[in-house]
């Protein structure tokens, strides 16, 4: 088995601040994802990466940057935090990124912006 580790678990930021979320996986999966989960809105894909140094935009990429420096890690940057923003950011991985593959999720980073 494997695990996805997201850090930090909780992140409190100020309006306009640049914030970085990190994700590590030890499944040796090729593909990694960042999703945003808002209450009542389901999961929306921000960025994904099919291999090291690859980046693909999802439906919600505006306002975010991502970086896949190595196979096991995928980071997400909120370029300018919005006042009163509150959401959970979920990292996931899958073997090759095919649509019928199982996604494995981390426990999430909960973001609050003051």
């Amino acid at each position: 088995g494997g695990i996805i580790t997201q850090t930090p678990k909780f992140l409190i930021g100020q309006e306009g601040q640049k914030l970085t979320l990190k994700c590590q996986q030890n499944f040796n999966h090729d593909t990694m994802y960042w999703y945003r989960q808002d209450s009542g809105k389901g999961l929306r894909l921000i960025y994904y990466s099919i291999t090291e140094n690859d980046l693909q935009k999802g439906d919600l990429s505006e306002g975010y940057d991502a970086s896949r420096e190595k196979k096991s890690s995928f980071s997400l940057t909120v370029t300018s935090a919005q006042k009163n923003e509150m959401a959970v950011f979920l990292c996931a991985s899958s073997n090759r990124g095919r649509g019928n593959e199982r996604l494995f999720f981390g426990h999430g980073t909960k973001l609050s912006v003051l």
């Binding site: 389901g42 999961l43 894909l45 990124g97 649509g99 019928n100 996604l103 999720f105 981390g106 426990h107």
Partner: protein
């Protein structure tokens, strides 16, 4: 445009009853439909999935019923237990095309003992 819709948004059933969670979709090219279960403070985890070539998939107390013509599916949880209380996400993908999973907004299920 919301491609995957779930209903109800919230559902409460008594322990031992069958909980029925509904899902519908827009894109006729979708051919893979997983359901993910999420407990508070955790990430979603795959519960059960079905391909569009089938109309039913069972795994223990969990059953998916799929109607391709109506673009609808449902998750039935038989003999529901308090430990089944969670949020359930229906998702869909077009494995021959864009390939990315599209998630519904989720159904929050509460099982009353």
């Amino acid at each position: 445009q919301q491609q995957v819709r779930q209903s109800p948004q919230s559902l409460t059933v008594w322990e031992g009853e069958t909980a029925i969670l509904n899902c519908s979709y827009e894109n006729s090219a979708f051919d893979y439909f997983p359901w993910y279960q999420q407990f508070p403070g955790e990430g979603p985890a795959l519960l059960i999935s079905i391909l569009s070539v089938s109309n039913k998939k069972e795994d223990g107390r969990f059953t998916i019923f799929f109607n391709k013509r109506e673009k609808k599916l449902s998750l039935h949880i038989a003999d529901s237990q308090p430990g089944d209380s969670a949020t359930y996400f229906c998702a869909a993908s077009d494995t021959g095309g864009a390939d990315r999973l599209t998630f519904g907004k989720g159904t929050q299920l509460i099982i009353q003992p």
